[in-house]
């Protein structure tokens, strides 16, 4: 992963073998088990796997929508071109103690540093996108790398998966076998019966089959598009590696199985609700919360986003409500 930006990295540590990194006044280092983040007012320790799983999503999603909390202290806030990197900013105790700290960076520059950290700290056989049952141990001293796993391209269909020239359906042949937790999901494709000349407009695909073949977890990927309305379905197992504080309302439609969402206040982190969603349940996540999902069995979740660039400002200024519907 060569980058046009100068990433500030140390030489590999003599004992652990990992490099340390600096970006702005933030410093990052790892040992066998933990990642340490330092900033001018403090420091914070996280399990290495928790940090890497969160970092993987932040990198793959180009900082995503709104706030990506790696945990209750460290994270990023996307301004779409620039990005805030913070510690304690969305934590009531840190705020009250005056220990919160924030830096704004150009997105592509911070992304280059994050990619370099991800590459250096991910060992051979460990896949931060995978469920824990499906991947190797993330701990220990530096041992090889897994560049192929951490540089997957995020799927973004332009119209719909399976349309001409668009993202292809998944098959055994193109490298997407059915996941062990979805072995019972029917794999038949819809019967398309176009009249001559209409082959490109008479289009359908097996979305549930497609999701059963996802090789990653917690990675919403665009599958169909109506103007700014994006269906971003994803397969989920174990814990969403970030607490996501969106800058707009997002919606969840549980397509299969069950997810529990732990919902906290976006600014303070105070608990607000636990939302249990089962197959067919649909719910909005308000724009003033952060959410983290728990999925015991691998499940299919439709994440629905409104991609309009106007919304963050409307929500932040109070011109638009933080809930989508009043009734």
């Amino acid at each position: 992963m060569s980058s046009p930006f100068a990433v500030q990295a140390s030489e590999p540590d003599n004992y652990y073998g990992y490099r340390s990194f600096k970006h702005g006044k933030f410093e990052f280092s790892r040992d066998e088990y933990f990642v340490k983040v330092r900033w001018p007012k403090g420091s914070h320790v996280m399990p290495a796997d928790v940090f890497l799983r969160a970092l993987q999503r932040d990198v793959a999603w180009n900082f995503f929508y709104g706030t990506v909390n790696f945990d209750h202290v460290f994270g990023t806030l996307n301004h779409y071109g620039t990005v805030d990197m913070f510690a304690g900013r969305f934590n009531d105790a840190y705020r009250k103690a005056g220990l919160d700290y924030n830096e704004t960076h150009k997105s592509d520059e911070l992304l280059a540093t994050f990619k370099a950290i991800l590459e250096d700290w991910t060992n051979k056989g460990y896949d931060p996108f995978a469920a824990p049952e499906e991947t190797a141990n993330p701990y220990g001293r530096k041992n090889g790398d897994n560049v192929k796993a951490i540089t997957r391209q995020r799927v973004t269909a332009q119209r719909m998966v399976g349309c001409a020239g668009d993202t292809p359906v998944r098959t055994d042949q193109n490298g997407y076998p059915v996941n062990r937790h979805f072995a019972d999901v029917p794999q038949d494709q819809p019967q398309m019966l176009p009249e001559k000349g209409f082959e490109d407009e008479v289009k359908a695909f097996n979305l549930f089959g497609y999701l059963s073949r996802s090789d990653v977890t917690w990675n919403p990927s665009v599958c169909s598009v109506v103007r700014e309305s994006l269906y971003c379905p994803t397969s989920e197992e174990f814990i969403l590696p970030v607490e996501h504080g969106n800058d707009r309302v997002e919606w969840f439609l549980q397509l299969s199985d069950e997810i529990t969402w732990v919902v906290k206040d976006k600014e303070t982190g105070a608990p607000r609700a636990n939302v249990v969603m089962r197959a067919g349940d649909i719910a909005a996540m308000p724009a003033d919360i952060r959410h983290q999902g728990y999925s015991a069995k691998r499940s299919m979740l439709l994440v629905w986003e409104n991609n309009s660039g106007k919304i963050p400002e409307l929500i932040a200024s109070g011109k638009a409500p933080v809930t989508p519907v009043k009734f």
Binding site: R159, K203, F208, V226, R272, R278, I282
Partner: protein, 170 residues
């Protein structure tokens, strides 16, 4: 793992989750269930179950043959239960939705253009309803389809009837 059981819902069998509030109002989550909504809807009512500014997800109980619809933007139909046939046909003169109009409209009369084809969909299948064409659904037995679309004149909003308002441990 041969004993794996993936749970999908259906009109005949669905189990709702719910909201346990700690410091919140359950209404903030606009929580409903597409099988519950469809079980109480008339055939082919386009009931909004999700809304984000002008965009909606509509839930349809598919039963018998629907009217012909058209829209000036793509829409996508996802079958959540049943077996649903999607018929596609070109429109005749002056049957199209106005340029830039939001949401689906009813086609006046039968579509005047040539047949484009049809798609037979089972649960989990998603069909493109391509912009500027006519489509209708056929379903011998009751089923459920959700449509990714824009709020329009056919969109029905009945949030107070469909949404969870209670807090309860699940």
């Amino acid at each position: 793992m041969s004993d794996v059981k993936t749970v999908f819902g259906s009109l005949a069998s669905f189990q709702k989750g719910g909201i346990q509030v700690i410091a919140d109002d359950p209404k903030n989550y606009v929580f409903s269930n597409v099988f519950d909504v469809a079980s109480k809807a008339k055939p082919y009512e386009r009931v909004a179950v999700g809304k984000n500014f002008e965009y909606v997800i509509e839930c349809l109980r598919t039963e018998g043959t629907s009217p012909w619809y058209t829209a000036d933007h793509d829409e996508f139909a996802l079958v959540m239960d049943g077996m649903v046939e999607v018929e596609l046909q070109k429109l005749g003169p002056s049957q199209a939705a106005a340029g830039g109009k939001d949401g689906a409209i009813l086609v006046k009369g039968d579509p005047g253009g040539p047949r484009m084809g049809r798609i037979v969909c089972h649960r989990g299948h998603m069909a493109l309803l391509p912009k500027g064409n006519a489509y209708r659904f056929k379903s011998a037995r009751p089923g459920v389809v959700i449509i990714q679309t824009v709020q329009g004149e056919l969109t029905i909003q009945r949030w107070a009837e469909i949404c969870e308002t209670r807090s309860a441990p699940v």
